[in-house]
Subunit: 334 residues, 2 copies
Amino acid sequence: MSSAVKQQDAAPLDLRAVYAPIEADLAEVERILKAQLHSKYPLVDEMVRYGFQLSGKRLRPALLLLSAKAVGEVTRDHLLLAAVVEMIHTATLVHDDVLDEADVRRHLATANTRWNNEASVLLGDFLFTHAFYLASTLDSTWACQAIGRATNIVCEGELRQIANRGNFALSELEYFDIVAAKTAELCACCCQLGAHYAGADEETAERLARYGRGLGTAFQIADDLLDVVGDEGEAGKSLGTDLEKQKPTLPLIRTLERAGTEQRERILAILQNGAADRYRQLMPWMRRFGAVGYARGQARSFATSARRELVCLSKSPALESLILLTKFVVLRSH
Amino acid sequence: MSSAVKQQDAAPLDLRAVYAPIEADLAEVERILKAQLHSKYPLVDEMVRYGFQLSGKRLRPALLLLSAKAVGEVTRDHLLLAAVVEMIHTATLVHDDVLDEADVRRHLATANTRWNNEASVLLGDFLFTHAFYLASTLDSTWACQAIGRATNIVCEGELRQIANRGNFALSELEYFDIVAAKTAELCACCCQLGAHYAGADEETAERLARYGRGLGTAFQIADDLLDVVGDEGEAGKSLGTDLEKQKPTLPLIRTLERAGTEQRERILAILQNGAADRYRQLMPWMRRFGAVGYARGQARSFATSARRELVCLSKSPALESLILLTKFVVLRSH
């Protein structure tokens, strides 16, 4: 957790407590994942099992199952679909590893570069295709369509993100729109699947989808913030990675929007100077324009909007957990 | 076309003639692909349209449509599914670009490495997910299941292939098995989809699937052969690429199987000596053991087996084309 965020909220949330209403269901999802993700070929089996361990929090299965439980009962279909969305999320994580140019460079310096890079692409594809196969074992095409559409939007969002590398004229709204696609859409899909397969009416399912979208957006803004203010040890990645990739995120977009013409040019010069400590050179500017606090405020605002979508639901432990998650996502992002 | 192959068969086949019975259907598939593969975001749109141009022969849509026409009528479902299998094939092509380590190295030397590498992974994912979405717009989950299962086997086959890099003890049967998975399974799936959605009985659909599997295996053996004997200009890639990647293919496997203990050690020494002209050093050994002719014979043998599966079908121009394809795949492989 970022120390800056920690200061504002003294008591960190325990995710296990949030997941308590679906503890047994999540355990069953783990069993399904274990049973599904294997290969009779030892080396393939090793890779697939490795991929399965990559993800951590099981946030997407939890969203699906909590949404189900908040409106009805968790069924066998829910458990399968929870495994499906986790496979898809893991596939995108595995492919993100390939996307990391810095990482590729480091790998090239080692002996087994090719293996890592190629294995990541194929492993991601294996997980994607297995997820789609599993979704197609349900009775109707409903889940396949929802998942196919959502994952396609995710990919488009990621493509838009790389298309906007180095585009420091990206507006805040465009940034939110990309985040909504690349991160929030799968969360929205999870909530909608959970609600739909628990027999929710269309309006409730739509509301839960909007909850997931708001939550996912807040989550991603907070995640991007970690790159600026985060604790390296806890976030598990180095600061300024987004900057190194010329990826405009909210604190930077805000700084540039608030800067005057001359200041803007000085900031852009830092962004383009290629210095190793660009990140440190930028921090005073972000501080001057209160960009970190602003981004945190935006994350909270999306989380609050998400929470408001839940008013239609009756009181239950699952509802309580969905509410707690809106706090969790702005506190932690890894 | 490889000159070695050309010598044996004087008259090259015209693929347009083979596709004649489904010419109008293929044109409609092109329209569907064009209508489906776009994005409202200009840069994404450019990438997606680029991906769409990558593939050439439209072999997989042709297999699906010819199989349909050989047993019944081509329907709207067939046309959609033909677009789906082409998208999936293109996705694997795009991801193969990422897999090419030599290529990655070359890209790293250029300015826009990251763009190319990252864009390829995401573009492939975009095509995969769009294909699955499109398949899920059909009435039942039948096509989704068949396609999900087949593409998962394809990925497993590709993973097995990279797991066997540098494994020069790979047996011929293991090689055939990997080829059947990574290349032939999607061809089998195309034929089965074509037959199934044209109302074929299960046995006929199964026979056509086996036809596709045999044809795809023959195609891949011939493709691997091009790496050894191919015409660089026509094949569009340099000779010895598989060797450079330490990928054991049939001519090499055969050479090693026929070599005596001492000869085998000398061949393995060439494979491991890292010399730029390893390929040329190996050629005399392949020639000595007739490995090229043997591999060509195996390709023909798989093509013949494929052809035999067609005996259940009544005479028609589509059947004629399916038969011609068994000749085509061993003549050309690009």
